[in-house]
C-alpha cells in the first residue's frame, strides 16, 4: 500500500505558523480532520519555525493533532531532544522525519533511534551536499540502510528519501531520482522510498500537473510513499489510478470505490 505522509501541519507554512501563534485549536483540528478524510496514512508534524519555541509548539500540536485523528504521526524535527519529548507523547508507532548521513545529524540521531519502536525517513544527504547522480543516491541509500540495520531496524521500517530536486535547474533531476528509486527498491528489497514530491516543480508554473505526473513516473519505478498534500484532489485521483495500474489494486476495487465516491473524475 502507498504511504501518504500528509505535509500540511508544518510551522514553516504561514497559515500554520499563525495558527500556532494564536493557539487556534480549531484551525489545526479542521486541517488534520481533512487530511485524514482525504486518505493520509501519517500526519507530519513540524514545529521548527518558531526558533526557541519548538518544544512548546510540538507538545501543543501533538495534543491537538492526536485529538483530531487516529492516524499515526510523522514527527518532523532534526533535534533528538524534541523527538524524545514527542515520542513519549504519541499514541501510535510514529514515523521519524529524519536521519541523514551528515555526521552531526547521524551521530545525534542514532542513539535516539536505538531500541525505539518507530519508522524512519532516511535522507540520502551527506556532508558533501545534495546528491548529483543516481549513483550518489544509491550509494548513500545503501550506507544509511546498512547503518540502520546495524542498530536493529527492519527494512520495512525504513523510508529512503532520495532527495527530489527541481527540474527547473537541471534537466537530469527527474531521471536521476527515478533511476535511483528503481535500483534502491531492487537492491535493498523490503525498504520503502519516499520524498517531498513538490520539490520537483519548484521554479515552474502549473506545479500541480508536474507533481502528479512525476508521482506516476516515480510509482512506475517502485516509489511507494510520498510527503504530499492529501487535500489536493487531483493528485490523490492520480495516485489511486496509479496504484490500480501498477497492479496493487485487486479487481480495481479501490479505484472503482473512489470513482463512485466522486473522488476520481475524468
Amino acid at each position: 500500500m502507498f504511504t501518504i505522509i500528509g505535509e500540511r501541519i508544518n510551522t514553516t507554512l504561514g497559515n500554520i505558523k499563525k495558527a500556532v501563534e494564536n493557539k487556534d485549536i480549531e484551525y489545526i483540528r479542521e486541517d488534520v480532520k481533512k487530511q485524514t478524510q482525504c486518505g493520509a496514512t501519517y500526519i507530519d508534524v513540524n514545529a521548527g519555525a518558531r526558533i526557541g519555541h519548538e518544544e512548546e509548539d510540538m507538545k501543543w500540536l501533538l495534543e491537538i493533532v492526536q485529538g483530531a485523528t487516529d492516524l499515526p504521526l510523522c514527527l518532523d524535527s532534526p533535534d533528538p531532544q524534541i523527538l524524545e519529548t514527542a515520542y513519549a507523547l504519541v499514541n501510535k508507532t510514529p514515523m521519524i522525519n529524519s536521519i541523514s548521513l551528515e555526521k552531526d545529524r547521524f551521530d545525534s540521531m542514532i542513539p535516539f533511534l536505538k531500541g525505539k519502536n518507530c519508522k524512519i525517513i532516511a535522507l540520502c544527504m551527506d556532508d558533501s551536499g545534495m546528491p548529483k547522480t543516481s549513483e550518489d543516491i544509491i550509494n548513500r541509500a545503501k550506507t544509511i540502510v546498512g547503518e540502520l540495520e546495524n542498530i536493529g531496524m527492519k527494512r520495512d521500517d525504513i523510508f529512503v528519501d532520495p532527495l527530489i530536486q527541481p527540474m527547473s535547474v537541471d534537466n537530469n533531476n527527474g531521471t536521476m531520482v527515478m533511476d535511483a528509486v528503481k535500483a534502491i527498491m531492487q537492491d535493498l528489497g523490503g525498504v520503502h522510498t519516499t520524498g517531498g514530491l513538490s520539490n520537483i516543480s519548484y521554479g515552474l508554473p502549473k506545479r500541480k500537473i508536474i507533481n502528479r505526473s512525476f508521482l506516476l513516473m516515480m510509482m512506475a519505478n517502485g516509489f511507494d510513499s510520498a510527503i504530499m498534500d492529501p487535500l489536493d484532489k487531483d493528485i490523490m485521483a492520480a495516485l489511486k489510478t496509479g496504484e490500480m495500474l501498477a497492479g496493487h489494486d485487486n479487481y480495481c476495487m479501490n479505484f472503482l470505490t473512489s470513482v463512485r465516491a466522486g473522488e476520481i473524475e475524468a
Partner: protein, 210 residues
Amino acid sequence: MAITDILNAVVSLKKEDVVENVIAEINKGTQVDDILNKGLIEAMDVVGARFSSGEVFVPEMLMAAKAMQAGLEVLKPYLSSDTAAQKGTVIIGTVKGDLHDIGKNLVAMMVEGAGFNIIDLGVDVDTDKFVTEAQIHNADVVCLSALLTTTMPAMARTVEAIKEAGLKVKTIIGGAPVTDAYARQIGADGFSDNAPGAVALIRKLVAVAA
C-alpha cells in the same frame, strides 16, 4: 544594429545572437561600458522583473544568465579590470550546516548578471570564513542563505561575527524559512525571498554606502 539588439537577444534567450551582437557593437566602436550596462545588465533587469511578475520562470532566468555571460566573455578583454569591482563586491554562501544551494546559486547568478563582482563561498560556510573573505575582498555586501529552520541561527551568529569584527559590510539574508522579521531580529541589513529582489536590495545598500 544597436545596443537594444543585445538587450533583446538576452531577453529572448538567444545566446548566439547575444555574442554576435556584442561583437558587432565592439567593432562599431560603441563604448564597452554602454554595451555592458545598457545591453547586458539592463537585459537581466528586464528578465528579473518578468520573473518577479510571474511571466518567466527559473529555467528561462538560467538561460538568460547563460546568454548574458556569453556576451560578457566576449566583452571582458575590452573592459577595464575593475569594472565589476566598481559596482561592488558581493560575497555569498549557505551558512554552516546548510547544504541546500539552489536558491543561493540563483541569487549568485543574478547578482553577477547585474555586473557585481561575486564571490561564491559555496555551501556549509563557517562563520569565520564569511568574516575573513569579506575582509580580504573588501566586500560591500555579504549574502547568507539557509533553507532549514535549524540553520537559521547560524545566520544570526554570522551577522553578529561580522559586526564584532568591525566590518562595514552590509549583510542580507534569504531562503525559504527566512522572513523580514527574522532579518530585523538578528540585525541583518535586509531580506529578500527571490533573486531579482536580492539584486535590488544589494543595489540599494551599495548606493547608500557610496
